[in-house]
């Protein structure tokens, strides 16, 4: 079951892997963007950590936790990734509502809401070489696994694998959205930073689900 502790450790896992991968994400962004994606994400999740550590936010249900994460990202990240990831977490939080325990199906609804929010705001479709290219396959794989009777850990593993595949698949693409699109054909041959950070988020989810099971 997905409870507040689960969601909090997921966010904590994301925060620490963003720290680890900070420079890598920035290097990816240097190749086809403006060399700040890692810095942006780390600024955002550092703020998120502080927020979640604040006693005032103790005892929040999973949904409100994710909403708080989203609002914090919107308020601290800036750039393209800030509104996008912020909206994703906000929408997911909204979808989860105020339940203390969320079912795998409930988490899926949250992921679907996140994807919808990102696409509404950013108007990117699959193949535009953005975070959407990791997010869509991840959500689909997650849904697919559950619908065929898979467990939450299995669903998160499938989602992580699909996200990483989608991330790698951005390399040969020519960007049609975001900064990388300014490079035109020169954006080909580089992995998209946002798709990479999205894969990190699903890898964190998998680790937490694995621990929750064991």
């Amino acid at each position: 079951m997905v409870d507040a502790a689960f969601v909090r450790s997921w966010v904590e896992e994301v925060a620490s892997s963003v720290e680890d991968q900070r420079d890598y994400l920035t290097q990816l962004d240097a190749a086809i963007g403006d060399a700040d994606h890692g810095v942006n994400m780390s600024r955002g999740f550092t703020a998120v950590r502080t927020k979640l550590a604040d006693a005032a936010n103790d005892g929040l249900a999973p949904g409100p936790v994710l909403a708080l994460v989203g609002n914090t990202l919107v308020s601290t990240v800036g750039g393209a990734s800030g509104p996008l990831y912020g909206t994703a977490f906000r929408r997911a939080g909204k979808a989860l509502g105020d339940d203390g325990d969320v079912s795998p199906q409930g988490l899926l609804d949250g992921l679907r809401a996140a994807l919808e929010g990102v696409q509404q705001l950013g108007a990117a479709s699959e193949g535009d070489k953005t975070m959407v290219d990791a997010l869509i396959p991840a959500v689909e794989a997650f849904a697919e696994t559950l619908s065929t009777g898979g467990s939450l850990p299995e669903a998160t593993t499938a989602a992580r694998e699909a996200a990483e595949e989608g991330m790698r698949a951005t390399t040969p693409l020519q960007a049609r959205k975001g900064r990388a699109s300014y490079l035109g054909p020169r954006s080909v041959g580089h992995q998209d930073p946002g798709a990479t950070s999205t894969a990190l988020i699903f890898a964190a989810l998998e680790r937490v689900a694995g621990r929750a099971r064991g």
Binding site: G78, R176, R179, S181, Y182, G184
Partner: protein, 332 residues
């Protein structure tokens, strides 16, 4: 990396404190990262708010003041400001007649301004957003992020600010801003990359004889890499790219803006201006107004951008109107 800074994470706030100490005509909210003209909000006047990543100085903070912006929101280096800043600025400059957002067309800027505009609307402030997208190096397409906002931005901010100063209403100010944008085109050339304080190394590497054509203002590479050539050749390419998209011919009145990217000395910008002037004279167009210097920069990048604005009587009058900002000042 060698920079006159204390720490990469402090550069923006330290610089804001410096602006506050240097310019009594500004009121700087360092904590919320907003630069206001000291007398904002000016009651009855349409407010003008712009913003974007830091690293483009003097844009935007140095363009705040009478006859131009009422407030500017600097983000982290090359990172759009967040909605909170933009909302605070929007409310802080609303003199009761609404606020114009001047937004350079970058995904991040557009989305953050959009969120701020929605929040401001909820709180009862009328907001009109004006998109600046003058960079001809990027082809204009519905299926992409579209053209970037670059050198035309100060021009748009200057004329919109001048009209707002006359008491014109929200719609009129937004309209003249859009007109200035539609009549402006830009093209940028980089001789070097730039080094963001947090990355600590150049965003891209260029050979000793290589340059990038069609760059933006965030240290990103451009459309084409080639060998350097004489100024006449490089300026020819840049100006032609503009003219192919938007011709200037006999009878046209041009505002010629030769902008330094931050690391190129002024003497070279005048060499560039001379080449642009030769081309326009050759076509019979008139250089009615000029601006030469570092206004829309990309940190320490060496290079320049050329912006041509087709003036009409209204735009010329508004360009000539008094302005009093740290970076642009005349008539007062």
């Amino acid at each position: 990396m060698k920079k006159l800074i204390n720490a990469p994470e402090d550069i923006v706030t330290d610089a804001l404190r410096g602006m506050a100490a240097a310019h009594p005509s500004l009121r700087v909210d360092v904590e919320n990262m907003v630069v206001y003209r000291a007398d904002a909000p000016v009651s009855g006047k349409v407010g003008l708010v712009s913003g974007g990543g830091s690293g483009h100085e003097p844009m935007h903070g140095g363009l705040v003041g009478l006859g131009m912006l009422d407030a500017a929101c600097p983000g982290a280096v090359f990172t759009s400001p967040v909605p909170d800043q933009l909302l605070a600025a929007t409310k802080g400059v609303d003199g009761g007649s609404g606020v114009v957002h001047i937004v350079k067309n970058y995904t991040g800027d557009v989305m953050n301004f959009q969120l701020a505009a929605e929040l401001a609307g909820d709180e009862g402030t009328k907001v009109e957003s004006v998109l600046v997208n003058d960079d001809v190096a990027v082809e204009d397409s519905l299926y992409t992020a579209g053209r970037r906002g670059t050198g035309a931005t100060p021009v748009v901010e200057k004329v919109a600010g001048a009209l707002a100063e006359t008491g014109a209403d929200l719609g009129a100010v937004a309209t003249v801003a859009r007109k200035a944008n539609e009549r402006s085109r830009s093209f940028g050339i980089a001789l070097t990359s730039c080094t963001t304080p947090s990355a600590g190394a150049p965003t891209f590497e260029l050979g000793d004889d290589e340059i990038e054509l069609g760059i933006g203002i965030h240290g990103e590479p451009g459309r084409i890499r080639r060998k350097i050539g004489p100024a006449s050749e490089l300026v020819g390419i840049a100006t032609q790219a503009i003219l192919d998209d938007y011709p200037f011919d006999r009878g046209d009145q041009a505002l010629v803006f030769v902008n330094g990217m931050g690391g190129t000395p002024l003497i070279e910008l005048y060499v560039v201006f001379n080449e642009v002037a030769k081309i326009l004279e050759g076509r019979g167009a008139t250089i009615a107004r000029s601006l030469v210097g570092d206004y829309v920069t990309s940190l320490d990048m060496a290079g320049c951008s050329i912006t041509l604005t087709k003036l009409d009587d209204e735009l010329t009058r508004l360009w000539d109107a008094p302005v009093n900002t740290p970076a642009l000042r005349w008539g007062v």
